[in-house]
């Protein structure tokens, strides 16, 4: 895979941009090209230098942190600094006679000032985030404690703070040997050799270098990285090529001299341009760090394919190097493309350059967690599209990862180019999502960003066409999945129209497209992940378009529930999203039970927001580390793909209400009653606990109020609470066919209210007339008839119908208190026996196979006792000595399962 994907891993360091660069400089020497150079380095760099370098780099980060008031990071950097200083102490005491280096003191002073300033600013302090203010306190304490040791130095410094500050600035900018320079000039203890050279080289670089010699003489023996800066030197290029490419064009060698001259000319021009850029680009181009842009080709050079390719390689081999100006690389590549186009070098070369431009742009952004710049992304899109057009227009170009570099062929058809448009487009898509996540979802910015989605989809489509023409199954699956991921969450109203027969059956809708893509993946995919994701997206899409049965069957047949826990987080998120949508679909289709079933797992945790990756919860006790938070942020869904959480919760609560309320009514005195929905129950309870209940405001309050109305069988009030203007705007209007849903909902409310009514009040009637019930609930008589019949058959209602008079006769003879308690007791004993059996089953395997005898005997004894307890209980029960009985029961079962204990306790309470 190409290199820019290699650094796409999440393991990339989380430190900020500056830190990366700082460390890069430190390591710079390790990655030199030629051996002799390295030796020069080794000789000059002393421990002192190394330590100082380290210190200065940390100081620099502290400064940067201070600038943006990033206090936690300042704190950590400060800790690093003290540690580094501790390390450097032996060196300092040896080399500097124990005098603290001035730049260090200076940093401490600045830090103290900074802290004081922030601390004084009470207004600002209040506004700080919790994390920030906490670190501020810690930092302040630490710094105070620490600077006590340096009090003398500090006071001396404060007397003359500005002394040599300019020199120091420069030193810091130069960074590598900055420590030396600042130190000598300030303390004047022991001038090193490096300092003058650095000073000397800096102006040398700054001034337009006209003399040929300067390149070789100054740069070569200086130990600072100024020589790396001039790494475009011809020799180094040669080395590089020899080393990495093993191929030298003789022609180029001949041209060397000429080219040098040319380059000198250009240098001035380019540097100006680069410096202009610097103003806007402070984060990437450090002062004094300028790379000359090499001249493309000789004026009279004959430009042909190998030459251009060599040039391309030359440019590209600089990628990933520490001192390469990535921006310049992009510009160079564009120039190269223009040149190759001018000279008609063929599309294969052009494709190759395009591809390299793309990778260069990707390289530009070093941190994978942060989005790339917008203009770069736009550029990328453009290049990508033009490359794909080229590829599609020329069937004889084969671009693939599997083409080895030695087998690339540009001159004659068929052309072979190494590269992977698939990976490129995948990255393009990822970057797009990152860009989206970056901006505020409620701003116009987001909308304008989102407009680019069309272009992304178009690009994916182009790549897809390319792979359909020439691609392995795996590649096709991957690009199909990309397309699916852009398709699955979008609602296509034509699907429903087609279902209703308003459109001819031949029109192709998004569901058909999904079907085609997914079926290909099901058949051809050999990695499990793509298939899983495709299935999930497919179900989601079906559910979105109310194809409830198809969606349900897909879920059931795929057996995803069993092994989704083993999947990666992104897939699990998709699974959750799918489940949420399936629940909504079931609800729209009137399958309340299924809807509840689908949603219960999401809602019972109380954090559907997190489960659907639609936002992070505020921090609580176990705080996430910064790293964790970053990873979680990366997983978030972009805003336009969100599922409305309020709708989800409302659907869940309403379906829970429709199930739970009749259930509560039917099992009012049942000891074995279980909650169907814990969340709903909690809502209900908390509302009951309130001493004063006002008119409902929020969605939840509405549902709770409706549930209360339903408990008395008052369907009218219940329906009014669920379907009203407020709820419509909040929730129901979000459905596509909201009127149908509301109608259905009212129907369900009527039915369930009727059931609740019958359960609750059947004991006050001996007979009820069916027509009057029908009138009461505004339901057709046959419907009422069928509901009652169902209740009778299921033995929920002790009643029977009297056909001639159209009434329901109740048979329920109300049990006396004694009888009721006896029944409850029987339930309990049944439970006991159940549990006994379960325990036996569980222990059966290893119960008698334990090693020692005593243990076994004990267990056996326990068991017998329990059995005796059971018998004993039975005898007592006959005596109807209820209280003692239950106490005995309680006592005997103390070591029993907790569940039972609880039940017994509830009885006692009653």
């Amino acid at each position: 895979m190409s290199r820019f994907f290699a650094n796409g891993s999440e393991s990339e360091s989380e430190s900020s941009e500056e830190e990366i660069q700082a460390t890069n400089f430190n390591k710079a020497s390790a990655f030199q090209f030629s051996d002799d150079e390295e030796e020069v380095k080794r000789v000059v760099r002393s421990t002192k230098e190394k330590r100082y370098e380290n210190l200065t780099s940390i100081i620099k980060t502290i400064r940067n942190h201070k600038k943006i008031k990033d206090i936690p990071n300042t704190l950590s950097s400060f800790e690093d600094l003290t540690r580094a200083y501790q390390k450097a102490l032996p060196v300092i005491s040896k080399e500097e006679n124990g005098i603290t280096p001035r730049f260090y003191i200076r940093c401490l002073a600045e830090l103290e000032d900074f802290i004081n300033e922030v601390w004084e600013d009470r207004e600002g302090r209040k506004n700080l985030s919790k994390n920030n203010s906490k670190s501020l306190g810690t930092l302040r304490q630490k710094v105070r404690k620490y600077i006590k040791d340096f009090e003398d130095d500090l006071s001396r410094f404060r007397e003359a703070p500005d002394q040599e500050s300019e020199a120091e600035d420069e030193v810091v900018a130069l960074e590598s040997d900055g420590g030396d320079a600042g130190d000598d000039s300030d303390a004047g203890v022991k001038p090193t050799e490096a300092a003058p050279k650095a000073v000397k080289s800096a102006p040398a670089k700054a001034a337009p270098a006209d003399d040929d010699d300067s390149d070789d003489s100054i740069d070569w023996d200086s130990d600072s990285e100024s020589e790396t800066e001039s790494s475009d030197d011809e020799n180094q290029y040669q080395n590089m090529r020899e080393r990495f490419l093993k191929r030298t064009t003789e022609k180029e060698e001949k041209d060397d001299d000429k080219r040098k001259d040319k380059r000198k000319e250009q240098k001035t021009k380019i540097r100006k341009r680069a410096e202009d850029d610097e103003d806007g680009e402070w984060e990437t181009v450090v002062k004094g760090h300028v790379v000359e842009k090499p001249k493309m080709f000789e004026k009279d050079a004959e430009i042909d394919v190998p030459l251009v390719l060599a040039k391309l390689l030359e440019i590209m081999s600089a990628r990933g190097k520490k001192r390469t100006d990535r921006r310049l690389q992009i510009d160079l590549l564009f120039e190269l493309r223009d040149i190759s186009d001018q000279h008609n070098l063929g599309t294969a070369v052009s494709v190759k350059i395009h591809f390299n431009i793309i990778s260069a742009i990707y390289d530009y952004n070093q941190k994978i967690s942060e989005p790339m710049k917008l203009e770069h992304w736009a550029l990328l899109l453009e290049v990508m599209q033009s490359m794909m057009k080229l590829l599609l227009a020329n069937a004889d170009i084969i671009m693939s990862e599997s083409v080895a570099e030695e087998h690339e062929e540009y001159a004659t058809s068929p052309f072979y180019v190494r590269g992977c448009p698939l990976a490129a487009v995948e990255r393009l898509d990822d970057e797009f999502v990152k860009l989206l996540k970056e901006c505020d979802p409620h701003s116009n910015d987001y909308v304008s960003r989102l407009k680019d989605e069309v272009n992304v989809v178009k690009t994916i489509e182009l790549v897809l066409q390319y792979f359909e023409r020439s691609g392995t199954n795996n590649e096709r699956c991957r690009i199909y999945l990309r397309k699916i991921e852009h398709l699955y969450y979008k609602f296509d109203p034509e699907v429903l129209k087609k279902k209703r027969g308003e459109l001819p059956a031949t029109t192709s809708t998004s569901v058909d497209v999904m079907d085609k893509l997914c079926k290909f993946i099901y058949a051809k995919d050999d990695t499990d992940r793509i298939r899983t994701r495709a299935i999930l997206a497919h179900i989601y899409h079906h559910a979105m378009h109310d194809n409830w049965f198809q969606a349900r069957d897909l879920v059931l047949m795929s057996h995803l529930q069993d092994n989704i826990d083993a999947a990666d987080p992104a897939t699990r998120i998709l699974y959750n999203r799918m489940m949420a949508n399936l629940g909504l679909c079931a609800f729209r289709q009137g399958n309340v039970k299924d809807a509840h079933h689908c949603l219960v797992d999401l809602m019972v945790t109380g954090k559907p927001k997190e489960l659907l990756a639609q936002g992070l919860l505020p921090q609580r006790q176990h705080e996430r580390s910064a790293e964790q938070e970053k990873i979680e942020k990366q997983r978030q869904m972009p805003f336009h793909m969100h599922i409305n959480l309020e709708l989800l919760e409302c659907v869940y609560l309403v379906s829970a209400m429709l199930l739970e309320i009749p259930y509560i009514a039917a099992h009012e005195f049942d000891a074995r009653r279980r909650m169907i929905s814990k969340t709903f129950y909690q809502q209900l309870r908390s509302s009951e606990r309130q001493s004063l209940v006002g008119p409902p405001e929020s969605m939840r309050e509405h549902v709770v109020a409706a549930a209360k109305a339903m408990r008395c069988g008052n369907w009218q009030a219940c329906a009014n609470f669920i379907v009203n203007k407020k709820m419509n705007t909040k929730v129901w209007d979000l459905f596509y066919e909201s009127d149908r849903v509301r109608e259905m909902l009212t129907k369900f409310i009527k039915e369930e209210s009727l059931r609740t009514y019958l359960f609750t009040y059947s004991n006050v009637y001996t007979s009820i007339s069916i027509p009057s019930l029908a009138q009461m609930y505004e339901l057709p008589v046959p419907k009422v008839h069928s509901i009652i019949s169902k209740m009778i058959i299921n033995e929920e209602l002790m009643a029977s119908l009297d056909d001639p008079s159209e009434t329901v006769g109740m048979h329920r003879s109300e049990p006396s208190r004694l009888q009721a308690l006896a029944m409850q007791f029987v339930d309990k004993v049944t439970n006991l026996v159940d549990v006994n059996e379960k325990v036996f089953d569980m222990k059966q395997g290893n119960f008698f196979q334990r090693g020692n005898m005593g243990n076994r005997g004990d267990r056996g004894y326990n068991r017998n006792q329990n059995n005796q307890g059971g018998n004993w209980l039975g005898q007592r029960r006959d005596r109807n000595n209820r209280n003692r009985n239950q106490r005995g029961h309680h006592k005997n079962n103390q070591d029993r399962q907790q569940q039972q204990q609880q039940q017994v306790q509830t009885i006692d309470e009653e």
Partner: protein
């Protein structure tokens, strides 16, 4: 009624020869255009070697009286090949006939050994399978079965043609209306399919075929009515096959459940399946069950029952059980009715059951007399009054406790047995050390 006709779908899963009875049956029903049907039959027949049948069909189509030349020629050809094949197999068959009378017939291995020893027979040169196939193609099913029988004895189950032979045997047995042996072959084939390692798709295909062929057997064999429920509803593999490949089989399953009074408990499972599949397949029979047991819509059930009759009348597979179906369906309606009513007017009942009031009364009287129903008829008002008594709390209590002591005893017994076992073992163990 063409919209509930399943012949078209069923024929996809049946052998060419098995479709002829279905098509002929349709000819008699006048649902489709007679002419078109016959033409279709002709087309199908032409692909087989049944020349006589072809000629017959041509006659029925009133095509020219003269038989085309090529047909006559083909007939001769077919006869010639037949004779040749028969000649090739003849010695073996003769040997078999001789051996059949002897002792060696008892198991296949000794039989094969004897054949190999005495008659220089090689299993590899088994032409009889091809002959059987040819006979079958000619419509000579009887002889085909006897050859196939021979093949099955001689072949090892690993032979690549074994499956084909099994299928051929089943088809031939069905066509000769030999239901007993057909059932045997069916079970043998099913075992083979379940145990052979096909790929999932192949297995599904094989099972789907088997399901369709077996319907023919099940509805004609006296034991089939239990077996069809057993196989379709309670064997998950076959239920899955029905659900994924051929939900229309639900019709036959539903019919089988309805006409089987002893398997009422299967009804609940069936209804679950019907509801699950209601979006892919529904016809009056499944809808009837849905109306009756899900929605308790007796009016709807009545209408559906009416439709059911026409559907059954036009379905080759189940046409024989029409009367049974109607009778049992009525009983089901009535039973459900009784469970939820304490008092029913006879006229309403008659209406719901598609009967005349007099007939209905007579019917109910019969039911009461047969002690299937605890009810009395109030003839003055024309009511049936149910004699149900509500369950008293005491009864409920007793009912619940009933099983408790049983279960506890069982548990205690289990524990005792285990500990005794252990003790025995232990004492045996301890003796070891002496």
């Amino acid at each position: 009624m063409a919209n509930f006709d399943l012949t078209r779908i069923n024929c996809q899963f049946l052998d060419r020869h098995l479709t002829f009875p279905l098509l002929e049956f349709l000819c008699g029903k006048e649902i489709y255009n007679q002419q078109e049907l016959l033409e279709y039959i002709l087309e199908t027949v032409n692909k087989t070697n049944m020349i006589d049948y072809t000629m017959d069909t041509r006659k029925r189509l009133n095509l020219s009286q003269e038989m085309p030349e090529e047909l006559v020629q083909r007939k001769a050809e077919v006869l010639a090949t037949l004779k040749q094949l028969q000649n090739e197999v003849a010695p073996i068959m003769k040997a078999t006939d001789i051996l059949k009378n002897g002792e060696s017939m008892k198991d296949s291995k000794t039989f094969v050994n004897a054949l190999q020893k005495d008659y220089n027979f090689k299993v590899e040169h088994l032409e009889s399978a091809y002959l059987a196939k040819y006979l079958y193609e000619c419509g000579n099913y009887q002889e085909s079965t006897s050859y196939l029988y021979f093949c099955l004895i001689v072949m090892s189950p690993n032979d690549k043609n074994y499956l084909n032979v099994l299928w051929g045997k089943l088809a031939a047995e069905i066509l000769t209306l030999n239901w007993n042996t057909a059932l045997e072959d069916l079970t043998r084939l099913r075992d083979y399919i379940d145990n052979a390692n096909f790929s999932t798709i192949q297995a599904l295909q094989q099972r789907t075929w088997l399901i369709h062929w077996s319907v023919l057997v099940f509805f004609n064999h006296p034991k089939g009515r239990d077996l069809i429920i057993e196989m379709f509803l309670y064997k998950p593999l076959y239920l899955n096959a029905i659900q994924t490949m051929c939900p229309h089989i639900m019709r036959y399953l539903a019919t089988a459940v309805v006409i089987n009074r002893t398997r009422r408990n299967a009804l609940k499972d069936l209804i679950k399946v019907i509801q699950q599949e209601s979006y892919t397949y529904r016809d009056p029979i499944t809808e009837f069950l849905e109306c009756l047991y899900v929605n308790f819509d007796f009016e709807g059930a009545r209408l559906k029952l009416h439709e059911c009759q026409t559907v059954i009348l036009n379905d080759f597979f189940i046409v024989a059980c029409l009367n049974e179906f109607v009778e049992d369906a009525r009983l089901m309606i009535f039973e459900t009715f009784c469970r939820i009513h304490q008092c029913i007017t006879i006229s309403m009942l008659a209406d719901k059951l598609n009967m005349k009031p007099n007939e209905a009364e007579c019917w109910i009287v019969n039911l009461i007399r047969n002690a299937r129903l605890n009810a009395k008829i109030d003839s003055k008002l024309g009511h049936v009054v149910m004699g149900t008594q509500p369950l008293s709390p005491y009864q409920q209590l007793v009912e619940k406790i009933d099983s408790l002591s049983m279960r506890s005893e069982h548990l205690a017994g289990l524990i005792e047995r285990k500990s005794k076992q252990k003790q025995n073992q232990e004492s045996a163990d301890s003796w070891k050390y002496y």
